[in-house]
């Protein structure tokens, strides 16, 4: 235990919390897209939580990087938080961390500037979330011995399972979605009276766009 400082503990702790927060952000993001709700909460809570927790995650990661840099036991240059291959210590794993943080920053900056940006560009950058999380996860498991055994490993696996489940849910919806050109025809077919009988049972659902 000699040489481990408060900074090193802080970096590990904030790292773990960041992983939890990022898991929550991604799951919430998918929930926003699917227009899902959190029980007992209004609709805007889902959007609000997604946005606010993403900012919180960035703050925690900033502290995570800063405390790792400030710790003197190993030499990690400040730039390694955003620049890949900048650290000689655990170069590969920290690079993954930098990459995922870069993606996060791009997602947040494009979201803040959303009104002024091309919609396709915003969407493209935001889709990188599906790359960002696994890269952050790999960084977490690879660079931290804490997460490689015990209850922290269980926690990490639980996060991975939640992300996988949410992503599969999103994929399933995408697979089921009708292309724009076919949507009207689908509603027409669903509501048109079959010949020779009275009208169909009235359905108030809508085809989600």
């Amino acid at each position: 235990m000699s040489g481990t400082t408060a900074f090193w503990y802080a970096s590990r702790a904030t790292g773990i919390v960041s992983l939890l927060l990022l898991t929550a952000v991604l799951v919430l993001g998918i929930l926003v897209n699917r227009q899902g709700r959190l029980p007992g909460l209004p609709r805007f809570a889902v959007t609000s939580l997604h946005r606010n927790i993403s900012l919180l995650a960035v703050a925690f990661i900033a502290v995570h990087v800063l405390t790792a840099v400030l710790d003197t036991y190993v030499n990690i240059p400040i730039l390694s938080g955003v620049v890949p291959f900048a650290s000689s210590y655990e170069r590969g794993w920290l690079t993954l961390g930098a990459i995922s943080f870069d993606i996060m920053l791009a997602m947040i900056i494009t979201s803040l500037l959303r009104g002024r940006l091309n919609r396709v560009l915003w969407r493209g950058v935001h889709l990188l979330a599906y790359l960002c999380w696994p890269v952050a996860f790999a960084h977490s498991i690879g660079s931290s011995r804490d997460l490689q055994h015990g209850w922290l490993l269980d926690l990490s696996i639980a996060c991975a399972l939640m992300v996988a489940a949410a992503a599969l849910w999103r994929l399933a919806h995408a697979a089921r979605q009708l292309p724009r050109a076919a949507r009207v025809a689908a509603i027409l077919a669903r509501h048109s009276p079959p010949t020779g009988t009275r009208g169909p049972a009235r359905a108030r659902e809508r085809i989600a766009r």
Binding site: V32, N33, Q35, P42, R43, F44, T47, S48, R114, G115, R119, R204, R206, A208, R209
Partner: protein, 73 residues
């Protein structure tokens, strides 16, 4: 300067967040899409309207200055 809430119906996917945040001016139709009061936003609701515009997950809401009378097709 009067401002009116308008929705871009192509971008709107019917999240319904707007109707929750600004029920005074926005309600939802039976399919979940917003019906917006076409009159200018009252001054008292100006801040709420701006928050609602920012909150839309699809960024489909906007506040526009009242249009000039001669509108071109």
């Amino acid at each position: 300067m009067a401002e009116t809430l308008r929705v871009n119906p192509i971008n709107c996917t019917g999240h319904g967040v707007c109707a929750e945040l600004l029920p005074e001016l926005i309600s939802l139709d039976e399919w979940g899409y917003p019906i917006i009061d076409p009159r200018p936003v009252p001054l008292a609701l100006d801040l709420e309207a701006r928050r609602t515009v920012a909150a839309c997950p699809a960024l489909a809401l906007k506040l526009v200055r009242t249009e000039a009378p001669a509108s071109v097709r």
